[in-house]
């Protein structure tokens, strides 16, 4: 039986094309994925991301010690209101999940993890949290709405109280505020400015309705995927998983090597890989020919097979095929991708694909 977010009835009423995503029945689009993509790049769009896993750790001290051991990035870099993107690694340095951790000051820490990885994440975290005496609680009483796009902040006046809007405006990217009973983070998965609002489940539909009334267009997970790909953001399960380390997934920047004496799960394996030199590198590819790139396509440098695309799509903003790929080190300016038996020419770029 598929799980439904608090906004399920709203999606059906809007005529959304629903698809299974990690056990959740979620909107793929509400008519046109392309229009929804452009809507977010040019104005503002609204996503229901209530399927994401939200976990609170109320004890700041115990949790700080726990997360410094559990996560590859270092929560000691945080201060109240600040967010951090990080990988959750296994001992081999493989990525169990990627997540955002928010420092809530005296209220502890909030983690937002992927939906499809919920069970294995919690199974991994539970015994370790116990060792650190860090209590935690899943917050399935919270929904999550992402308002994304250059006009996102301007739309908040119509839906939130003045004090809350002022607090959000005063905050910066990758920071969160708590005001008016809401947790509001300047984060997202589109490469645009905007917020992720976490209302109580009981208030989610009313907030959704107010946002739509304010002219924010509903957008599905299809557009969310092409938006994040253009922004060069990784998708767990496609671009990285338990068999790949952050160092071969374009996520080396999320590993906090300093201080050198911080022991975190996966550190030894990553240090070994770093010392030996990571065998692969993570790149962006832009198709020079017409067409579309997809995941799992073979990448060539001349006659030599050098890797595989991990995510691929048609970029609505650039009007061409784009992909992320994991390839052996030493790739030049160009590579070829095999699409239906033909080698198509691509330019090697450093993500993101769009400047923002």
């Amino acid at each position: 039986m598929a799980k439904h977010t608090p906004l399920y009835a709203r999606h059906l009423a809007l005529g959304a094309k629903m698809v299974d995503f990690g056990g959740w029945d979620m909107p793929l689009h509400y008519g046109s994925q392309l229009q929804e993509h452009h809507q977010v790049r040019n104005a503002v769009g609204l996503f229901d991301v209530s399927h994401m896993t939200i976990v609170d750790f109320p004890d700041p001290a115990a949790t700080c010690a726990l997360l410094r051991y559990l996560l590859a990035n270092d929560v000691a870099r945080l201060y109240p209101g600040k967010a951090l993107y990080t990988c959750l690694l296994n001992e081999a340095g493989g990525v169990i999940d990627d997540l955002i951790v928010y420092d809530r000051g005296d209220a502890g820490y909030r983690l937002v993890l992927n939906a499809a990885t919920r069970d294995k994440d919690l199974a991994w975290i539970t015994p370790i949290a116990e060792r650190f005496n860090a209590a935690w609680q899943e917050r399935d009483d919270l929904a999550m709405l992402a308002v994304q796009g250059p006009e996102a902040l301007a739309k908040l006046d119509a839906v939130l109280d003045a004090r809350t809007v002022a607090a959000v405006r005063a905050s910066r990217r990758f920071h969160a505020v708590e005001s008016g009973g809401l947790f509001i983070a300047r984060t997202g998965y589109t490469g645009e400015d905007g917020v992720e609002i976490l209302p109580p489940v009981a208030e989610a539909s009313a907030l959704w309705d107010r946002l739509l009334a304010a002219g924010v267009a509903p957008c599905g997970l299809g557009a969310r995927d092409t938006l994040r790909l253009e922004a060069g953001m990784s998708l767990y399960g496609s671009d990285m998983d338990e068999t790949t380390t952050p160092l071969v997934s374009g996520l080396g920047w999320t590993v906090a090597w300093q201080p050198a004496d911080r022991d975190f799960i996966g550190r030894a394996a990553l240090e070994q890989q770093r010392a030996a030199g990571a065998p692969q590198t993570f790149i962006g590819l832009m198709l020079e020919d017409r067409g579309v790139l997809r995941s799992h396509q073979t990448v060539y440098d001349g006659d030599r097979e050098i890797g595989v695309t991990t995510s691929g799509a048609f970029s609505p903003t650039l009007n061409r095929g784009i992909a992320l790929a994991r390839v052996t080190v030493g790739v030049g300016d160009h590579a070829q991708v095999e699409v239906r038996g033909k080698r198509l020419s691509t330019r090697v770029v450093k993500p993101p694909f769009i400047a923002r």
Partner: protein, 143 residues
């Protein structure tokens, strides 16, 4: 989901439509039902004019935001024309699948008797709607 299935056309189970013209030339496209399932089209790979094709052979590829799908030629023949407008405007297939969104024309001596009529094709389309989801859907999406 209800889709438009014109009574005067013939259909293949693989979701192509065929419209007979004079001189044994038929026009081929994909159905409204197919474009609905695929979602927004972003690229169409067209064949060379002059290519000889067999019935049920792949003769073009349509790519949507979700997936690439083969277009199978419903009849034996020779491709005599392709819709060049689709190169820059693949969305014509979404907007007008039976008109501006036609894909190619084939000169054929075959009869269309083996193809489905609108009633038979509608039965297939309805069955698929009831099954819902699956093959045409990309399961791995942002989350």
């Amino acid at each position: 989901m209800s889709s438009n299935i014109p009574a005067e056309l013939r259909y293949a189970e693989t979701h192509e439509w065929v419209r007979p013209q004079e001189d044994g030339i038929v026009t081929v496209g994909i159905t409204d039902h197919a474009q609905h399932l695929l979602g927004d089209l972003v690229f169409v790979e067209l064949p060379e004019v002059g290519r000889v094709v067999a019935a049920a052979e792949s003769c073009a590829v349509v790519e949507s935001v979700k997936a690439a799908s083969d277009v199978y030629c419903p009849v034996d023949g020779v491709i005599v024309e392709v819709n060049e407008l689709l190169a820059d405007n693949p969305e014509l297939i979404n907007e007008d699948p039976y008109g501006e969104g036609w894909i190619l024309r084939v000169k054929t001596s075959a009869t269309l008797d083996g193809l489905l009529d609108a009633v038979a094709y509608e039965a297939i389309a309805i069955d698929e709607d009831e099954e819902e989801e699956g093959s045409l859907t990309n399961a791995k999406l942002a989350g």
